[in-house]
Amino acid sequence: MGLFDVKIISEHFGVHDARTLDYFERKGGYRSARKACQMAPEAIAAEVTASNLRGRGGAGFPTALKWSFVPKDAQTVYLVVNADESEPGTFKDRNILYWNPHMLIEGMIIAAVALEVRSAFIYIRGEMARENKVLQAAIDEAYAKGYLGERMFGSGVSLDITVYRGLGAYICGEETALLSSLEGGRGWPRLKPPFPAVKGLWGQPTIVNNVETIANLPWIVEHGGKAFADLGTGRSGGLRLVSVCGHVNKPGVYELPLTVTGRQLIDEVCGGIKGGRKVKGVIPGGVSMPVLTPDELDVPFEFDALQKDERIREVEVRPGQKFDLGGNRTLRTMAGSGGVVVMDETTDMTQAAWRIVHFFAEESCGQCTPCREGTGWLAQVAHRIAFDHGRTGDVDLLASIADGIAGNTICALGDAAAWPTLAFLTKYRDEFEAKVRHAHRPKGAA
């Protein structure tokens, strides 16, 4: 069996009955939840620590460390699963919700025991009507079997799971915005600290974890944290769901070792670029993350490697001036949400960059001025460059707006708009400048 054949989550994707409790249990499902209900919370947390599991929503933060921030004397702790998958290029969690809802429920039971949670929520994207129905049906099945509710599996612990539907706002995937929304308000992010693990939903300690993160827990409880860590590399345990779209022959969701490089992903996993064309750029983790050029694709698509590998060029504000991520850190790229966007040599990078900033302008929540105004300006300037009305100085203007947004907002949406803008300008600057040089201008204009 090759390394590509090991599966933790995706083995039953595409199997018609996979979403039923019967099928899931026949394949060994709910054994880990049953076991967890008899375990001490600290014992579960210890396995998760040993597993090197890192958050699969975008930040790659160590899950056990996040859990450890919950105050020891907390009376009420909430668990919230972030199923608001909306980072463009990302479509992995939707597969888990549709094919493996019971794996998510089982993972939630394990997390709830570890965190001593009695009430958990799943915040699911409003657009996912089909997945919502499947998920609710699975939860109802689990209640009927006594796997949820009072005294789960005949143990002394209880858990309620409530599905809460979003109503179409990208920002609600940001954990504090999600909590504002779940409390019944506008999805406005909150300043951190205090972090949700200390002061979250209704002011109580709250752990917000991504769907894929939680779905890994049954395997960790069954096989042990060390086995999970061994599947990974360095400080990152396990495998990873990667969703690939764009100009590849076989787009889709793949569960892969973290050591797989961008080039392997395109050529070996996704059957190469359509029409035998050449690759021009690859976004490794959702559109918030800086784009990679063809000569940067030999780096493993893993959290630490994408941030630190020197084969990836540092993002610049202007030629020769590196972008400052704060604390003297520079920005290469990040593994983000695992949403990989592959662009071939025919792609107009100015139009791709415009569509990305246009998205952030649409989705800015409007709280912070640099983001509310800045994303709108980015979209306007990028649009005129991309559609042949660029003005002299527009390329520098775009960079300066992006640099003015980054680091100056409550949440990461501002950075998420600024980083890809600066990365496109750093790596495809000639193309932007050529567009401006050849723009249609009214007579007499600069």
């Binding site: 657009e127 996912m128 539907r165 179409g168 706002a169 969703s243 966007v341």
Partner: protein, 190 residues
Amino acid sequence: MRRHPSFRARKAVPGQELSPQIEARIQQLWSRFPEGRAAQALCLPVLYLAQEQFGYVDAEVVDLVAGRLGLTAAHVTGVATFYFMINKVRPGRYHLQICTNIGCQLVGAYEVFERCKQRLGVQNKGTSADGNVTLTEVECLAACGFGPVAQIAEREKPEIPLYFENLDATRIDAILDALAEGRVPTELGN
């Protein structure tokens, strides 16, 4: 959120009230939230169900929701106008939503979107003259590997929203033809 049409008050329809199904859902969910928090937490779910009932959320529907939950109309209006999926004006019988975000853009979403505009004789967020189809450009629907993607909602049929994937000129024509005939082509969706 900036492109939402401005929130406008509409003429009141006498005798409107929230359906018994909404009341049942409120009763079912109330105890899932801590004491004193349920009314506000139910704002989103009730708005969504009210939209299923009325097709859109105007000032009068806001008043109904606010009245039932004991929230201010200002709060409910704030929520209703923040979220993209709440229709501020009455959409056509079918709401055709085309994703043009990057995954779909790269494989021809704008060609599909232009074709819809042309055939329906509308711009983005417009409704065809016969009131049958509202066309909206939407952001990523999390089906990027199978783009261009559309989602179709039918008024008063909450179970309908299906995804329509791998769209091209032929497939979008077939979808538009079916909508013109008064049906959602479920055989083309998943």
